[in-house]
Amino acid sequence: MTTPAQPFVILLVEDEMADAHLVKLALTENQIPAVVEHVLDGREALEYLRRQTARFAEAVRPDLILLDLNMPRLDGREFLAAVKQDAALQAIPVVALSTSAVERDIVGAYRLGAAGYITKPVDVADFITEIRQLTQYWMSLVRLPKHR
């Protein structure tokens, strides 16, 4: 349950601007009042979460992480493993976003602690539906740990 004072924050870890744009578009289309913090790869995401660089000094701890699995530098899987091994971060749910529907990728993500694995559909309308279902689950249905 979010209050206007505490907006729902999604950390979007996505190297592709086109896809990040689709996520933001889908949130807008669904009129979802979530704040999207977009970082371009896993390393930047960890810097964000740990407020390691001046740029992220004021970073807000996200309620949910949407993670693209294929990224340069720190790969999505490595990032996921790092988050789930960090006691301060492991309570944040991470949902994997991927084009791949390969079994190995799906199983790997769940084993690393992903709280969902979503494939990016071709049709934007489908994607909008997906984001709606996703945010309904994480924003309306489930309880998330309070941290602020």
Binding site: T99, S100, V102, K120, V122, V124, F127
Partner: protein, 553 residues
């Protein structure tokens, strides 16, 4: 290879096995082993040949000795036979031979080996011919000579011719004599001992017919010796040298009252040392050259093995790299393809109702279609690449269970196309069940897609066990595939008609699955003229067909 070996290859897996293999193939070891074998062989051959040569040589010498011994015996007998003529004369002359000197002189001419002829009535030499040079013999009493007394008595008592000697003379040379006792009868039956007729044997003339000197010329040492009853030790009558003979060939020859022995051996022994040295040298050279060649070959083989290992490793690495590259490429190309399709769709949604331009709509449609097609192709590439990996545990698949599940999936399509599907009971194959299902899925899809004709489509699935394999057939009664295209359809993205939908990767995946499971797949003409997909897989029932991959315990 001039550059040092890649440490990764040198320290890779199977190091122990490879090391022991290398030890076995080390050229030095091979060389030593081959040398020892070759040397042993050469030694054996040389030894046998030497033995054979020795036997031949001894046989030759034996013949020679026999011939010469016979010559000696004949010569001695001949000399001694002079006494018989003389004895006859004595008996005729009743103890007297008139003109003995003349008669004996004539007789001696016939007996070249005889030196003297003597008459010794009562054992005392009374007459000797030729007298000249032998005057000392006159008056010599045989029975009084301790050296000759025994033989004289023997001759008298046995009434036999006795050969006395040869003796070594004080002034050198040899002397021997044949004593023939003569008995005269004086009218009554009793014969009274008269005395001896003696023939002095001339040495070495008596041996001349044996041509012993010729033996020495031919490279043989000889020795003629005798053992007589009253002389214990061996007495050498004639010899080529004073040295003892080495393992001689001996031949006994019998003379009156004695056995003489002619012994012959090659000068310097039987073994031909220089010949042996030559042969050994050749044998050694032969062994060495073989060893060298073996070492060379071993080195070549080792080098070839190393090269082969290197190539295998490189090929495996390259194949893995290629597979990884293809996977990554397919995956990375998926993303932009999807984005193109997404944004084309988005654009269409945005433009709809606002822009009434059919060409713009059409262009967007083409973009969407092509992006979708690209995605489909990439997806199929991914499927193709993944087709050689088992998707579950290797097991003896209950093929009937898997097949009925696949058939159930196709029920709707089969009904829609009005086809008749008949499935026989099949023998089980050794493969993971997801991929076995995939095989039938592709074959069925292929039949439904391409088997259509004006007739009712009939699809038959049957198969049988063939030794260590099972063979499944999925045949239809459609138009079939011309023979020249039956291989081509197994290539990735190969389609025989542009009108049919699908990317044309199905049969390529089918073959990849079958081959990676240790089997094969191909097309044939169905009995009714249609197309028949044949799939061969290892049979689940025979243990020998189990691949060497890890088995769940």
């Amino acid at each position: 290879m001039t550059q040092p070996a890649n440490p990764q290859t040198a320290h890779g897996g199977g190091r122990v096995a490879r090391a022991s293999f290398r030890l076995l193939c080390r050229p030095a070891h091979v060389a030593v082993i081959v040398f020892v074998l070759a040397a042993a062989l050469a030694a054996g051959l040389i030894g046998r040949q030497e033995q054979y040569r020795l036997r031949e040589e001894r046989a030759l010498v034996s013949n020679l000795v026999a011939e010469r011994a016979y010559a000696i015996q004949t010569s001695v007998d001949r000399v001694l036979s002079a006494t018989y003529a003389l004895a006859a004369m004595v008996r005729q002359g009743r103890g007297e031979i008139p003109e003995f000197a003349l008669t004996a002189g004539q007789l001696l001419r016939f007996y070249p080996g005889a030196a003297t002829l003597q008459l010794a009535p009562g054992g005392m030499v009374h007459q000797v011919a030729p007298l000249q040079g032998n005057e000392k013999a006159l008056g010599y009493d045989l029975f009084n000579d301790p050296q000759r007394r025994g033989e004289a008595a023997l001759a008298r008592d046995t009434r036999q011719l006795v050969l006395a000697g040869p003796f070594n003379l004080f002034h050198g040379g040899l002397a021997a004599a044949g004593y023939l006792p003569v008995f005269l009868n004086d009218g009554d039956d009793d014969e009274a001992f008269w005395g001896f007729v003696i023939v002095g044997v001339a040495f070495p003339e008596v041996l001349t017919p044996a041509r012993l000197g010729d033996l020495a010329d031919r490279g043989y040492a000889y020795e003629l010796s005798r053992r007589s009853p009253d002389v214990a030790e061996k007495q050498v009558i004639s010899a080529s040298s004073a040295d003892a003979l080495v393992d001689p060939v001996e031949r006994a020859l019998t003379v009156p009252n004695a056995v003489w022995t002619l012994s012959v051996a090659p000068i310097g022994g039987w073994s031909d040392l220089s010949d042996l040295v030559w042969k050994s040298a050749i044998g050694l050279l032969f062994s060495l050259s073989l060893a060298w060649q073996a070492a060379w070959q071993a080195r070549l083989i080792a080098a070839a093995n190393a090269q082969e290992r290197k190539l295998e490793l490189r090929a495996a690495q390259r194949s893995a790299d290629l597979q990884r590259f293809a996977e990554v490429t397919a995956h990375h190309l998926q993303e932009p393809a999807r984005r193109v399709a997404s944004y084309a769709g988005r654009l269409r949604a945005l433009l709809s109702g606002r822009v009434d331009d059919t060409e713009a709509q059409q262009s967007l449609d083409f973009i969407s279609q092509q992006a979708a097609r690209l995605q489909e192709l990439l997806h199929d590439v991914e499927l193709y690449l993944a087709a050689d990996q088992p998707r579950g545990e290797l097991e003896a698949c209950r093929v009937d269970t898997v097949l009925s599940a696949v058939v159930a999936e196709f029920t709707e399509r089969v009904d829609l196309s009005g086809a008749v599907l008949s499935v026989a009971s099949l023998p089980d194959a050794l493969i993971d069940s997801p991929r076995l299902g995939e095989l039938f899925r592709i074959a069925l899809d292929n039949a439904l897609r391409h088997g259509r004709s004006e007739r009712t489509l009939c699809i038959d699935i049957d198969g049988e066990q063939r030794g260590a394999c099972v063979r499944y057939r999925v045949s239809d009664n459609g138009p079939g595939v011309e023979e020249q295209y039956r291989e081509r359809v197994f290539r990735v993205f190969e389609r025989l008609s542009s009108s049919s939908d699908g990317t044309g990767v199905g049969l390529a995946i089918l073959r990849r699955v079958a081959e990676s499971a240790g089997g094969r797949a191909w097309l044939d003409e169905a009995p009714g003229g249609g197309c028949c997909v044949l799939i061969e897989l290892p049979f689940a029932g025979s243990p020998s067909s189990r691949p060497r991959t890890e088995q769940p315990s």
